[in-house]
Subunit: 216 residues, 2 copies
């Protein structure tokens, strides 16, 4: 894991984060082991060992083990959620030209697919640990309920008013759209990552499936 990658991932606010080599090693080792065996089953001594660092060094930078987890998960969740409908996505499609729902779905799916591809370990950690740590649950709820859901909702309502989508409660529709996508991402990267995947074909089937299910 590259230090520059970590620095970019962990940058939550706009302020730059400086990482010494050892600090980057700690984060990289923690991400690896947390993803492998889970937070609770991971010993700080093991993280220190894999990072090539004294155990005290970890606690120099993170007051407690849980702070290390949050330092990984927090920016992970934010990067996972925030850019979903970011900058040149919804805006492009809505304000400039309209390529249809399938084009929007395609952009959305490939965007999150690529994110998942580059962050499998963190994805795994988030999925595994959010159930047990209220802090993580709160971060997810905040970023999802405040960033992701409203934008999807707004988009869906827009299409609904244009008469392109069938009548369905927004939450139900969002779940119907997100579930198969998440289902694909999870099987693709977590459940069966070693299978041979015809990703383009899968995505097209996915788009067709979702589209048929939601259009008027």
């Amino acid at each position: 894991m590259q230090e520059s990658y970590l620095r970019e991932l962990l940058k939550v606010d706009e302020q730059e984060i400086r990482l010494t080599e050892k600090q980057a090693n700690i984060l990289a080792a923690a991400i690896e082991i947390f993803a492998e065996k889970g937070y609770a089953a991971t010993a700080t001594s093991e993280i220190a060992k894999r990072a090539g660092v004294a155990e005290g060094t970890i606690f120099r930078h993170y007051p407690a083990k849980k702070d290390l987890l949050l330092a990984i998960v927090k920016p992970g969740v934010l990067k996972l959620a925030v850019p979903v409908f970011a900058s040149n996505m919804v805006e492009n499609i809505f304000n400039r030209e309209f390529h249809g729902i399938d084009e929007l779905l395609r952009t959305f799916i490939y965007n999150r697919l690529d994110f998942a591809r580059q962050n499998v370990a963190i994805l795994r950690i988030v999925l595994q640990e959010f159930a047990f740590h209220p802090e993580i649950k709160m971060i997810i709820e905040e970023s999802f309920l405040e960033q992701v859901y409203p934008r999807i909702k707004q988009t869906v309502i827009g299409f609904q008013e244009a008469g392109l989508l069938k009548e369905m409660p927004i939450k139900t529709m969002v779940r119907c759209i997100v579930s198969p996508i998440l289902g694909f991402i999870v099987t693709r990267f977590l459940l069966n990552p070693d299978a041979e995947w015809d990703e383009a074909q899968e995505v097209e089937h996915l788009i067709d499936f979702i589209l048929k299910g939601i259009e008027a």
Copy 2:
């Protein structure tokens, strides 16, 4: 948690299982705490405490902590997977009379929904722990790949040959069918169990969504 319920749940083979009150208490306590805080974060001392039992009693019946986990998870997975297309389900629809795919989906969804409702804790444990324990993963893979998947596959092929389903790789189609159902079950019982759910309406939307997405 009732002793009779536990005895029924844990019955994997046909042989009856006798449980003393203390044994039932241990299992009930373990299910509770494992679901609450995860396997690795659960101390055997805590299980003993909540079960009202000496710590030694746990190890009298389960050689190691992991055996206690497996004693809970194994029958849970089997009951979750095996009866999916059991006895009077596929057979009824195929051999006797044909009520259409929607009727099949409806039966399937309500069946698994009711199972989830009665086994939320175990469902949570399985979902949380299978990633870290190869034994659990194997049990799931075996029961899914040998029991569930072939039956769904057979059913799907049947409908496909009748010209009722669109062309799509079987695995992709199964995933497209299962993902939204699982998505609903997970949000219904794990993510947002306290919300007010119009279950019947949700199920009908779900059926309509899936159906439109897969039919020719």
